[in-house]
Amino acid sequence: MSRPAGLDARVALTLGRLDLDVELQVGAGEVVALLGPNGAGKTTLLRALAGLAPLAEGRVTLDGDVLDEPATGTWVPTERRPIGYVFQDHLLFPHLSALDNVAFGLRCRGERRRRARRAAGEWLERLGLAAHARSHPRALSGGQAQRVALARALAPRPRLLLLDEPLAALDAATRLDVRAELRRHLADFDGARLLVTHDPLDAMVLADRLVLVEDGRVVQSGTATDISRRPRTAYGARLVGRNLLAGRMVGTTVRLHDGGELHVAGRHPSGSLVHVSIRPGSVALFRTPPDGTPRNVWSGAVAALEHRGDRVQVDVAGPIPVVAEVTTEAVADLGLCEGAPVWVGIKATEIDVYAA
Amino acid sequence: MLRPLAVAVAAGLALALAGCADGGAAGDTAGGARVLSVFAAASLTDAFSEIGEVFSSSSPTSSPGVEVRFNFGPSSGLLTQLLEGAPADVYASADEATMDEARAGGAVAERPTAFARNVLALAVPAGNPVRVRGLADLARDELLVGLCAAEVPCGRLARQLLDREAVRVAPDTEEPDVRSLLTKIEAGELDAGLVYRSDVRAGGARVEGIEVPESEEVGTTYPVAPVARAAEPELARAFVAFVVSGEGRRILADHGFLAP
């Protein structure tokens, strides 16, 4: 019987005000990104998987080996788990050189000093840090420190790699480079990889699959495409920049919980509860009531305007509050400003409807 | 790290200051009463405390509102304090040599009065567990023996006595004063020690005394005198007079002192 490869976990614990109960699978070779607002329990989940916080309930198995299962009293201490952990602020040992930081794990796993240092040197070379082997952490840049931390976590050849906000400590400029590099290095690693972030772009670039966690619970998981087309929570919708509304199907219209109706093209059983998601780019704005195509038209007022590159996000207050995205020319043409009246039009075919 | 240290330092300082205050400043008035400051040898602690009480409450020679404050310690230590100008009215030392030094140093101007005599006695823990019978037992190797340090009168006296009797003693400790020696005997940490006869009484039930007849020859005489710069010279003289009065001698005898 072949053993299931990768991580299979249900982690339940309470820590202060956090009540965490999450089920999670990460296949060998898969990169999963854990997304969620601050305080959702992402870091706590990683710590629990690493054995730095004990489970109250549930089970952690890695490649079929049980690491933690309170019900059976099974517990493998952190130092005996084949897990690599890249901490948010790297936590490189300040008294050791980059080389000795990377060699640390190998030494702890019983490698002789000479061999450990040679292997560490190879890792640093692979990550383009050969010139910095003798440097102490405080002499390294953010990006270099991040790579040393990655090398240190990978050197003992873990079967699960945990990365906590690997890019958060970097400034915007280095972030882009490091993200691309990290993507390459993660691809070289064949174990399961779990990455915590609150940046959707990082998640989409680096991960095969996204898991959204809010208040200690998984609220949605799927590919980047799934989630960006069909977010299920306000947080998820904000993350992917979509309008999200909830309501009940009545024929071909959705009667929204917060008031108003939308005509939609999708077919769902009448009476079922649905989510409605609309791309801001699909929300059209007019100075006068439009005639013709759009089935959904109402009037509102501009609540806020925000520049996004060559586009502008327009929050429109009205019977159904929505966010529209228009070009900067359109803003001028329509005379948009805070408080200005505006007509909203959305085609039924531009509205994604899916079961709640 | 600074905070606990600061607390410790402050507490230590407070204790030190409290310790200093015990010395008492001569001429102070406590609640309107006149204060007499007496510097006396440590071996006089119990006897003088009682004398002080009687003196301040019932002695006809003193006015009713007198408070006697004592500073008990090794005679020579008290002398150092006196020579440095510590405020005191009366000085009572445990030997004449120290008193002579006080006179030579100008701390005492008047002629001192001898008021008591003390001889050495063997002190052993209650029950005398190691069966000490006389001076010669101090030479027993297996015993833990304490003496006063040679720098203080009781130590000088002990060495005189031992030399005279040709008893060779290798002490395990040389205590800075007779009280600390006695404490270690009381606690059973030392098997025997040479202390003043008066101290054996003060040790109460936990110490047993063994008279040493040979010590009669090398006793010490206690002199007392008003201090030259006393703030209360009259009161000081009255106190000295009370110490040598019948009442004073009776109290001293109760505490194991011999007449001078």
Binding site: P77, E79 | A8, A11, P74, T173, K184, A187
Partner: protein
């Protein structure tokens, strides 16, 4: 204003030393210091203080680690207990040691009957007394050093396969090394100056239990010049060590 107060503090601390220097019998000093008693007391002081510091480091660093890293019922009590000797009059500490470790003491009786170990009136007793009063200085300093460090370095070490002991040895210890050195220096200085607990617990015998402070105290009784000479030795040695180590280590705290 602040500088003025600071100056006042310096003057307050310096003044007694000026007094000491002014009274020093400079011409007779060589003869006084040449007495065997001085070398004996100094040697005993240096070696016993060093031994007390070594013991304090060996047991005090783990204790500081436990106090800083583990929350257990009664931790506040243990912490208070450990720092108690700092505020307790040393004589009280010495008496307490006598009641516990003396011949008639709780543990001392057992030590003597089982192993023939007699702590009072022995050099070992001096070390015990000094350790008792000096240990808190080390524990407090190291605990503060640990508390200001990031405990997650130990987590990081664990994820790399380090046992708790390895993490402590290879990560925690090097990170708090400056605190350990600072604590050891304070501890040593306190042990060197120890008087009350030593004389109460270990007694006073030249060559065996008479450390420099005891020698000073007794010399004050009958030979003030000798006392001052001994004090000068104590001051000189302490100052030399504190100046040498302070510049090097304390700056990093």
């Amino acid at each position: 204003m602040l500088v003025g107060l600071a100056g006042l503090a310096v003057a307050f601390v310096a003044l007694p030393f000026v007094g000491l220097l002014q009274r020093a019998p400079w011409s007779g000093l060589p003869a006084l210091l040449a007495r065997p008693l001085v070398a004996e007391a100094l040697g005993l002081s240096l070696s016993s203080a060093l031994a007390a510091t070594a013991i304090s480091v060996v047991v005090g660093v783990p204790l500081a680690w436990v106090l800083a890293r583990h929350d257990f019922p009664g931790r506040a009590l243990v912490r208070a207990l450990v720092t108690l000797p700092m505020v307790l009059p040393p004589v009280v500490g010495g008496a307490a040691l006598l009641f516990a470790l003396g011949r008639q003491g709780l543990v001392g009786r057992w030590l003597e009957t089982q192993f023939g170990i007699l702590l009072p009136f022995s050099t070992a007793g001096v070390v015990v007394a000094q350790t008792f009063v000096a240990l808190p200085f080390l524990v407090v300093t190291v605990e503060a050093g640990l508390a200001s460090g990031d405990p997650r370095y130990e987590d990081a070490a664990a994820t790399l396969g380090a046992s708790r002991w390895t993490a402590f040895r290879r990560v925690t210890l090097p990170l708090v090394a400056p605190s350990i050195v600072a604590g050891a220096v304070l501890c040593w200085a306190r042990a060197l100056g120890e008087f009350g607990a030593t004389i109460t617990f270990a007694g006073n015998l030249a060559g065996r239990t008479q450390t420099l402070p005891l020698a000073v105290f007794l010399a004050l009784e009958d030979d003030r010049d000798a006392a001052i000479a001994l004090s000068l030795v104590l001051v000189a040695v302490s100052l030399a060590v504190l100046v040498a180590l302070r510049g090097r280590w304390f700056a990093r705290l």
